[in-house]
């Protein structure tokens, strides 16, 4: 039975209102606490994820303000070395593992199913589980920090400093186990995204009609899948070294300190593109909408995403240029790191070409994109600088690198993210963010950011190492440091204004229509915010821009409404293959996450936790998968 056989034009079988009523009855999460804990709606979970990630951004930002307070003056005594080390470690770990990666995946959880025109993400229960794991990992880190047992070994926890001999107590274990939590959740989301994009695209959305944001999340998910196992192996080995006396990193017994660095950066470098590539997708989406034309060079953009993803695995040594590896071998990594400038440049050039050819409309999202280009190109170029081995021997582990990575992380990822929030806020909440406030937010953050981080380049070149809790008065750094700290207040004010605007607008902003920006991707083909079933009738896609102004969106019917049902399509052509049920709400993912949390935290203290702790996990998983007599389970 090929799908072509029944491609005949039919009239709608249901009266629209009746259809929507029935779909809602099937798909909507029941109100109340149990409903909230059991929901598997990707929109609810996505919103939850996004909100949580932004809370972590605010918390991590507050930590950075503490650091800036301490560093404003030489030999300041606000914060002692022990606390300072916890603060910068928690700031970095929190920003990377609890904010930047999850927030990108969270946007995808919310948007990808809508953008590909399906009704829920693949493996919705895994999605719920993933959120709970993420939350537990975040709580682990922050509760430890509040209790003064936060990790204090830096966000890449180099051994032997993080090993059994030099990191007494449980601080380093908490870091390593927090990694496990976030990796489990990130891997779960990556699998969901891959399968959603491969198998649940709207009929007709062939590979060359996939929105660029979806492409970017697909490539990102593959990076997650291939990179995260390295950090899993690394953090597990670290825990084993610390708990049961293995010798992976102990040179006295045949282990090696640099093994850790190789494993960490084999993950850690792709990690930065895991953060950056989704931002590329966001920028492409915003540019297309606010220049009123498709992004120039679709194919080139997709190739650039894939090329960046592939190259990402050949760069890790550029974080180890001064560790003592053979110098000429390192030159290979200079070449590969610089090669990344080619796809990055291609992307920049394509966006510029799009703006050149289009008619830019200067709404807040586009402002953030312009700010992104200004800042990210600086960050990228400083990346090219540190990719040069001799150059890096001077600036590695200095504030120059701190400047580089904030330029690419904040400029390259947070700016697009804020633009994306302004852009998709109506879809997320049904209300608009305030445009005037948005301009202020942009202005404050843009100015504050550059004033805060640009001088750090100079500090680095003038000899200021990173990760120092203080410096001596005779060093010529105090003026700039004071300036940086004051500028950070401007930056913080911008973020504060953003949070205020977001909280206020979510409650009382102007209500949004289905497609307030006149965009062309599928998420705008359904009301803002979308109903629980996303689309009353599944949309059909016949071009890269499925929404043409006001035309009828072609639709498909024939799905059951008495069970949660969605459509499986083929990988390349997105031709319909089967109808498939989508899991109903369930409390089991929460139980499974709780059981896993207990096992993981317990295993910081005793290896036997792995044995005894996995029993409840197994029980929860059986409960999760055991068939219940629901329509979703029949065939």
């Amino acid at each position: 039975m090929t799908p072509k056989d029944n491609r005949e034009i039919r009239d709608t079988a249901f009266d629209a209102a009746e259809l929507e009523r029935r779909l809602a009855a099937t798909w909507t999460t029941p109100p109340g606490l149990l409903g909230a804990l059991s929901t598997v709606d990707h929109k609810i979970i996505g919103r939850r994820y996004i909100t949580t990630a932004f809370v972590f951004l605010a918390l991590g930002g507050l930590l950075s303000l503490l650091m800036r307070l301490q560093l404003a003056q030489p030999e300041a005594r606000f914060i002692g070395p022990d606390r300072y080390n916890q603060i910068f470690t928690t700031h970095g770990t929190n920003m990377m593992f609890l904010f930047a990666v999850p927030v990108m995946q969270a946007m995808a959880i919310y948007l990808v199913p809508l953008m590909v025109g399906t009704r829920n993400i693949a493996f919705p229960r895994l999605n719920a589980f993933s959120y709970w794991m993420y939350l537990a990992g975040g709580l682990l880190l922050w509760i430890a920090f509040v209790l003064d047992t936060g990790p204090d070994v830096g966000w890449f926890a180099y051994v032997p400093l993080a090993g059994p001999q030099y990191a007494a107590g449980k601080r380093a274990d908490i870091w390593a186990q927090m990694i496990t939590f976030t990796e489990v959740s990130a891997l779960a989301v990556a699998v969901e995204i891959v399968v959603t994009v491969f198998k649940q695209r709207a009929p007709g959305m062939s590979l060359d009609r996939i929105p660029l944001f979806v492409w970017s999340m697909l490539v990102t998910s593959f990076l997650v899948i291939l990179a995260m196992p390295a950090i899993m192996i690394a953090s597990t080995s670290l825990i084993l070294d610390r708990l049961v006396g293995t010798h992976f990193f102990n040179p006295a017994e045949g282990g090696d300190a640099l093994l850790w660095q190789h494993l960490f950066w084999f993950f850690g470098h792709p990690e930065v593109y895991i953060i950056f590539l989704p931002a590329v997708g966001m920028v492409s989406t915003i540019v297309a909408t606010f220049t009123r034309r498709p992004v120039f060079g679709y194919l080139g953009m997709v190739m650039a995403l894939i090329a960046t993803g592939v190259l990402a695995f050949g760069l890790w040594v550029h974080h180890m240029f001064v560790a003592g590896l053979p110098r000429l071998g390192e030159s290979f990594f200079t070449a590969s790191s610089m090669a990344i400038a080619v796809p990055a440049g291609l992307q920049i050039f394509c966006w510029l070409a799009t703006m050149w050819a289009g008619k830019p409309i200067f709404k807040t999202p586009l402002l953030f994109v312009i700010g992104f280009i200004v800042i990210f190109v600086i960050g990228g170029l400083t990346g090219v600088m540190v990719a040069s081995v001799p150059f890096d021997t001077q600036v590695h582990d200095t504030y120059f690198v701190v400047a580089h990575f904030h330029y690419v992380l904040v400029g390259g990822a947070v700016f697009p993210l804020l633009g994306a929030i302004y852009y998709w806020f109506p879809k997320l909440t049904g209300r608009m963010l305030n445009e005037t406030t948005g301009r202020w937010v942009f202005g404050l953050i843009f100015t504050g950011f550059n004033l805060t981080f640009f001088p750090m380049h100079i500090l680095g070149l003038r000899g200021m190492p990173r990760r120092i809790y203080t410096y001596q008065p005779e060093m010529p750094w105090s003026g700039l440091n004071m300036f940086i700290s004051l500028s950070a207040i401007v930056l913080a004010a911008g973020f504060l204004l953003f949070f205020i605007d977001a909280i206020r607008s979510a409650r009382a902003g102007a209500t949004a229509s289905a497609n307030p920006w006149g965009a062309t991707t599928l998420e705008w083909a359904t009301p803002s915010p979308p109903p629980s079933y996303n689309f009353a009738k599944l949309p059909l896609v016949d071009s890269l821009e499925p929404i043409h102004d006001d035309a009828f969106l072609p639709a498909a019917i024939g799905l059951r409404v008495d069970r949660r049902e969605l459509l499986i399509t083929s990988v390349v052509e997105a031709a319909p293959e089967a109808r498939e049920s989508s899991s109903g709400d369930s409390i089991w993912p929460l139980w499974a996450a709780l059981a896993t949390t207990v096992a993981l935290i317990w295993s910081i203290f005793s290896p036997w936790a792995v044995v005894w702790g996995s029993i409840p996990v197994a029980i929860a998983l059986i409960g999760w998968f055991w068939p219940k007599d629901v329509p979703e389970d029949d065939s």
């Binding site: 120039f296 070409a353 410096y471």
Partner: protein
Amino acid sequence: MRAVPPLLISTVVAASGCSGNQSALDPNGAPAIHIEHLIIVIVIICTVIWLLVMGVLGLAILRRRDRPAEDPISEKRLTTVVSAAVATTVIIIAGLTIASFYTTRGIGVPEDAALTITVRGQQWWWQIFYASSGATPGFQTANEIHIPVGQDVHLKLESTDVIHSFWVPSLAGKQDLVPGRSNGLLLRAEKPGVYRGQCAEFCGLQHSHMAIMVVAEPAADYERWAAAQSGNAVIPAAPDAVAGQAIFMAKPCAACHTVRGTSASGTTGPDLTHIGSRQTIAAGLVETTRGSLAAWIADPQTLKPGNNMPMVPLTSAELQNISAYMESLK
């Protein structure tokens, strides 16, 4: 017992040690000079690239639009321009890669350096070994390296505990000290002077206070210094220093520190044989004076919280004598 009032501690901290220059932009060593040239070239090229991109961005968003957007000719022209830009990118990065490759070759460790010094990183100070050369026997010192000007010096970098990084930016780029491994670094000062450096790899609580001084001096001065350092400690003459020596030997100090020529032969802390001749104490924390020595010995944990030297209870007379003794160890 708290011999040193907090006031003294804070003045000592505020007035601390020798600065030297610690900047990649103020190079006085051959490798650092090579690198500075490379830095300048790369920064200029990148600045030009950034300005060009900004120019195009500005034009793209602000230009007057009279042509229709979907003009096929302009689409074709865009393709040409974008391709050209990508091609230019490829050429530039190829050039930068080659430039940094040649610079790398220029700063490698030579096989036949005149002088080899072993630097061993410790939490949070530098242990330094000079091998015997000619008439001068080998000796140990801490936190201060002397080198002859204009000669290649090979540093052998090792660590006893965690990873540290040796970085004296005015002389050379940095190089890690990794436990279980031995790394090399070329130093070559072109001008006499005191060059300050600082541990660059995060190594725990006092990573911030792990500085190193490199004193580059004419060969003759260097030889004189090395000969003096290789000798045993001077025998104190002043009465307070003599008393100080006795206290030093009786207190736990001797269990951690070596003073060559005495019974003190501990190895946990820096070799103090010639501590009085060093410019700073406690890895660049404060300038060496009798007052700063007293402040340090009285309460090392306030000056450098978390460091591995405990506070040894001393009366104020004892403290004064010990400081006098330390100062006398020129």
